[in-house]
């Protein structure tokens, strides 16, 4: 295996809330290879967005990030703010779920691309202008030379997301962090944006971490997937094998919760209950109270993420006793 572009070990993030310190990311381990799309999937509260934000330390002041985030061999966690800024937006770009709030409404889209070009490249004035138009063209905005002077409110939802990608791409990042970039979009527009991301990945040789709650999005666009539960990685591996034969009871439960075409109007087999509140797990498997496979062995400690064959990782005590996912068998 090649050296990972990004290697996260024991990432832990605490936020200050009215109920005191809450650990929202609780020891995440992850690797991102150059040029791959890694999906981070989980339900609300699983810590997937917080993991993403913690990589760039986008956590508001009383909150804390600890552990190790090795970016091309350099640990980002102890860096000072000034050093961090040189990496944010330059080597690692980020796009968000709500482009309307992430874009500045009083600056034209072109101005926001130029801003990033000024900060992170040494292009001259006219070269920057040309590059801005080129970037809008790259993300599939038609008539880019005219639209470069438009303001975010003149763009539709899908176009705004494209514009935000163009801004992120201005500095030629090696890694793009995408936080639910298609959740607010309609399915045909989601399809366009995902296809765009896959195309950009291929042409720009850029790695992507894609946070989503939609397993279909993972299946269609990611190379590898990390399933998060209660602030930890439950399972990690290449998308095909993970979906075909999950090695964590939670992954299996998630897959079974999605309606499938061949059992119309049959009851689904959902995971009962709800995810635990942060910091209420204790020394046992966090999924145990909702798990059909749970035994006494699950109650002794939080199962560590162990390495299985084919580069797969699982934190499930009973990973080898799970049923196969039915639809994959057909």
């Amino acid at each position: 295996m090649t050296t990972p572009l990004l290697s996260i070990r024991g990432l832990r993030t605490t936020l200050a809330t009215e109920r005191g310190q809450v650990t929202v990311v609780d020891g995440v381990d992850l690797d991102v290879q150059p040029g791959e799309i890694l999906g981070l999937v989980g339900e609300s509260g699983s810590g997937k967005s917080m993991t993403l934000r913690s990589i760039l330390r986008l956590i508001r002041a009383p909150g804390r990030v600890s552990g190790q985030v090795l970016w091309r061999g350099r640990d980002l966690v102890p860096l000072r703010e000034a050093e961090m800024r040189a990496i944010r937006g330059r080597e690692i770009g980020m796009i968000f779920q709500e482009p309307m709030t992430a874009l500045n409404p009083v600056l034209s889209v072109g101005a926001q691309i130029l801003e990033n070009l000024v900060a992170h490249t040494d292009l001259g004035r006219s070269a920057r202008q040309a590059r801005a138009v080129e970037l809008l063209d790259l993300v599939g905005i038609s008539a880019p030379a005219q639209r470069v002077n438009d303001y975010p409110h003149q763009f539709s939802g899908g176009m705004r997301q494209r514009a935000m990608i163009a801004i992120a791409l201005a500095s030629n990042p090696t890694l793009l962090l995408a936080d639910e970039p298609t959740t607010a979009l309609d399915v045909t527009i989601q399809d366009q944006i995902l296809k765009l991301l896959m195309h950009l990945r291929a042409t720009l040789k850029m790695a992507v971490i894609l946070v989503t709650h939609d397993l279909g999005v993972v299946a269609q666009s990611c190379d590898r997937v990390a399933v998060l539960y209660a602030g930890r990685v439950a399972e990690y591996g290449a998308v095909g094998p993970v979906f075909a034969a999950p090695h964590h009871a939670y992954t299996l439960g998630l897959l079974r919760s999605v309606p499938d075409a061949r059992h119309a109007r049959q009851p689904l087999r959902p995971i009962g209950g709800a995810p635990p509140a942060p910091d209420t797990v204790g020394e046992r498997c966090a999924f145990m109270p909702r798990c059909a496979y749970a035994t006494a062995a699950c109650a002794t400690a939080r199962p560590p993420l162990v390495s299985l064959s084919d580069g797969r990782l699982s934190a499930c005590v009973h990973w080898d006793q799970l049923e196969a996912n039915e639809w994959a068998a057909v």
Binding site: E43, S44, S156, G157, G158, M159, D186, V187, T188, I189, Q190, D191, Q192, L194, K195, L196, M198, H199, H213, D214, L215, G216, V217, V218, A219, Q220, S221, V239, G240, F243, A244, G253, L254, L255, R256, S257, V258, P259, D260, A261, H263, A264, R265, P267, L268, R269, P270, I271, G272, A274, W327, A328
Partner: protein, 361 residues
């Protein structure tokens, strides 16, 4: 247990409710040429230029019918008018023109007490679990209010009826004294369903009921809907943008685009062989759960939804349609019955089935 007895009473009375009723499978709710527009406020510039007040065409001549006891799925992207349709059906909106007939009753003309009686029979569950419940009222008060306003049962039977309704939606009785903020999204939707069912309706309109919920909770709600429909013989309008959910729950599905129904068919026929290019695009764009069946590298459909203020002439989908011809740009296709019995509004599908002479195109 008294609770379960009253519960079956709920089921009984609902099943027996339609005295005048048509047989199962007969159309219960018939919508014809339903049109709804919303006025947009004019800007000062418009006034100066003397431009007429512009209108958003939310629904244009929508035709569909819902059969007694079935689940009709309504699917489409934001702006297609599916939520407006739901609100018109329960008379939250006044319609501009067209007719809605419920079990022979002219819904559009209803007022006052007659409208309230109609609402008892057709209930709605809302999308936003955080906004659809009064934050100051406990679960008990919420359900009790519905029971007492409509005099569903004598006061002394109310606690038992409330318990039965909570049991019906699988909420523990201990939750009765709590307010909405103490519940998760899925539990709030259960409260919303219990409130609707308190009126013993025979038709339930579920507007994006599960859209705001996590996938495992969605599945719990899907099971609840299936169970309730079975027990109470409900007719359900399931409105959603998630094709997988609609496919799983619906007997028939209507696809909407820019305020019109473009295709309406039995679920399996629709998903296996979509006839309208928009339906096809929608299915292609929906991410398949099986990673071994990846779609093409190309997006399923280009472009974005046109403005509902100035809908394109001809077929509303033609600017994005991969197979549109010149004729589609000029002439709007009617919703016609194709050979296999489904309805579709596409010139090409109609021509394929020999319903239109190709020389016309």
């Amino acid at each position: 247990m008294g609770g379960s007895m009253t519960m079956s009473a709920v089921a009984q009375s609902t099943a027996n409710a339609p005295e005048t009723g048509s047989a199962p499978g007969e159309p219960l709710l018939v919508v014809r040429k339903l049109t709804k527009t919303f006025a947009r406020s004019r800007s000062l510039m418009d006034l100066v230029k003397g431009e007429p007040r512009r209108r958003v065409h939310a629904l244009t001549e929508v035709d569909l019918s819902v059969r007694r006891g079935e689940t009709l799925g309504i699917v489409g992207e934001s702006g297609c008018g599916k939520s407006t349709l739901a609100r018109c059906l329960v008379r939250l909106h006044r319609v501009d023109s067209g007719s809605v007939t419920y079990d022979g009753l002219d819904v559009v003309a209803l007022r006052g007490a007659a409208l309230r009686r109609f609402n008892r029979r057709v209930q709605m569950v809302f999308q936003d679990p955080y906004g659809s419940l009064n934050p100051r009222m406990t679960v008990r008060a919420t359900i009790a209010e519905a029971l007492s306003v409509h005099r569903i049962c004598p006061r002394r039977e109310m606690p038992a009826r409330i318990a039965a309704l909570m049991d019906l939606v699988h909420l523990p009785l201990s939750a009765a004294g709590r307010r909405p903020h103490e519940f998760s999204g899925g539990q709030r939707q259960r409260i919303g369903i219990a409130r609707a069912l308190a009126l013993e309706p025979d038709c339930l309109i579920a507007d994006e009921l599960v859209s705001a919920l996590d996938v495992s909770v969605q599945a719990q709600m899907v099971n609840l809907l299936l169970e309730l429909q079975e027990r109470l013989h409900l007719t359900v309008l399931f409105i959603a943008h998630d094709l997988r959910l609609v496919r799983h729950l619906s007997h028939r599905v209507a696809v909407m685009y820019l305020g019109r129904v473009v295709e309406l068919a039995e679920t399996e026929a629709l998903f296996a062989h979509p006839r309208h290019p928009y339906t096809r695009a929608l299915l292609d764009a929906a991410p398949e759960l099986d990673p071994s069946r990846r779609g093409s590298a190309e997006a399923a459909v280009r472009g974005e939804l046109p403005s509902p203020v100035n809908p394109p002439p001809g077929c509303a989908f033609h600017p994005r349609c991969p197979v549109a011809i010149e004729y589609c740009r000029r002439v709007r296709p009617e919703l016609v019955r194709l050979r296999d019995g489904r309805l579709a509004a596409c010139h090409l599908a109609a021509t394929e089935d020999g319903l239109v002479q190709s020389t016309e195109l």
